[in-house]
Amino acid sequence: MVLRPTVRMHLRSRPIWPTAHSTSHMKAHVMADIVVEQGRAVRTASKRKRTSLRNAMGRKSTVAFFLTLPLILLIALLVLYPAVYSVHLATLNKSMQRFVGFGNFTFLFNRDTFWMVVKQSCIFAVTAVFFKALMGFIVAHFVHNIPAKGQRKWRGMLLVPWVIPPAMSTLAWLWLFDPSYSAFNYTLSFFGIGPINWLGDTSWARFSVILVNVWYGAPFFMIMYLAALKSVPDQLYEAAAIDGANWWQKIWFITLPMMRNIIAITTLFSLIVTFANFDIVRILTSGGPLDRTHLFATWAFKVGIEGSDIPLGASVSLFMVPILAIAAIFILRDVNKRGNEA
């Protein structure tokens, strides 16, 4: 407040120098913003006549735009440009010399392997996300019921799978799945089971990649659901208990509806990430056996990088966009609808 007269004087004393104006004006504007709730004096200050440039510089939206500009540039550089570039790539022929339009896509649509990858990606993503959410939900309930004193420790330990870089932890799983001398088959041998060819048999290989993905992703759901559980007021459960609900009815009628938004959002994000998973499958099976564990990302890598057909690889990976967009629309629409309630 004390500084404002000085700023005004400053503005008046050098009226022909626009840069000084805008900067000094910005200072004044920031000050005005800070004290805006305190008194009328500020309003009179903002009534001062301004040039349109000064006006534009002073507007909150302009300031906001400049403040977010670094991030916008970063996103444009690292997300927008590659996305547009991959669309461009997908329209070229293998040697990237000739424009083929939808040629790559029609080629893909006629290949059985492509449709198998589509099917596998869907099975992989849906099953893995479902079990991640289920495991996360169950474990979150257990952790929620641990007395507050020991809870931190358990939360920390249960998050470990999620914080280890998946490429590294998947290597450990690779050894665990080794058919001849792994811990799994060794243990199972005591019960007269196996040996199981974890990564060599098509069904077991699919099971294994899903298992590792669930192991890696469940802690994220656990921590999100734990936060959601903690935000449900205890009194709702007490009211439900008095209304005659048993534990299952409390979960069905209170917990799940109260967590609906967080379930929808975590499912959406996990669906996207899981659908685009690369590292786990790449390390465990490289898409084998017989391409039966390939996902979009791994198969795009195979045809694009290993098969030296970059445009085809780009086409494969682009195919994820419409599928995920549809899922996102459905899930987020529900979130918006529900958002008005609580």
Binding site: P233, Q235, L236, E238, A239, A240, A241, I242, D243, G244, A245, N246, Q249, F253, I254, P257, M258, R260, R338, N340, E341, A342
Partner: protein, 366 residues
Amino acid sequence: MADVTLRKVIKRYDDVEAVRGIDLDIADHEFIVLVGPSGCGKSTTLRMIAGLEDISDGDIMIGGDVVNDVPPKDRDIAMVFQNYALYPHMTVAENMSFGLRLKHYPKAEINARVTEAARLLDITDLINRKPKQLSGGQRQRVAMGRAIVRNPKVFLFDEPLSNLDAKLRVQMRIEIKKVHQKVRTTTVYVTHDQVEAMTLADRVVVMNKGRIEQIGTPNELYHKPATRFVAGFIGSPAMNFIPCRLEDSGGKLQIRLADRIAFALPPARAVRYNALPRTENLLLGLRPEHLTESNAHLEPGVESFDTVLDVTEPMGMETLVYFGLEGTPVCGRVNPNAGAKDGAPMRLAMDLNNMHLLNEATGVVL
């Protein structure tokens, strides 16, 4: 509908006893209010009746059956919570019918009961709204509606009005009383507000530090408090406690408040207090309304004295006057036309017919 009985109910948390042996008989149709300062164990007692807290010792009976180990859902009670605890994802009708739906009542029966309760509480128009779209008072009504449709044996209210603003609180207080007059369900109501307790209750239970201080009708508690705690807790502004002693003076029993102030006791009081030792430290308990402006015709037992007022608070229908008596702050209520002014001298009258005498050490009203 049923009576509720508590027998030596104790609640221990680790080493702390929150409730230290409560004995209480609540008759069928009765409206009982548990009142006391925060931490006195009143909410814990209510939650034990509800079954939301285990009891550490003793017995709780509802309708003659011991319910110590019966879960809340099987106790046939309904509870209204301080923050209403409405299910935010359900409409008003769904909130109210939730308990009935869980018990698989026929749809027509549920509809009839919800409609009836909504009509009783004047929330028929809100039946399809979500709790978020309701004001505090409306939520309060829905919470009560949820209790009413169940038609339970006992209503339990846990400070239901403390989230409302002062004006609405008065309005809902009357509303609750009306509802109880209509449905006549046995009610246990917890509050820290003594006005709520006095206005709603058939009988008030004053609790302090996990024990019952006194049980009685509002008038009994006001006019015949058993302890200093009850005397000071019930009534606003609170009762004055003035250190005093009994003296014999010329064959009469008199009460000495200060070196210069001593009053002869009215005959009835003199007989009652005559056996007390003269050396004991006592407290004179006098409600502010028994300290009024003096006038020419003093009734027997009313004694006048001069003082200098510290502060006056004009309330409109009366003026509260504050002054010191030998260092003890005292409050009186005078007529607004009596000319009470800050810092001015004033002649006041003390109605000893309505006095209480307390033992300073034990706090017992003698």
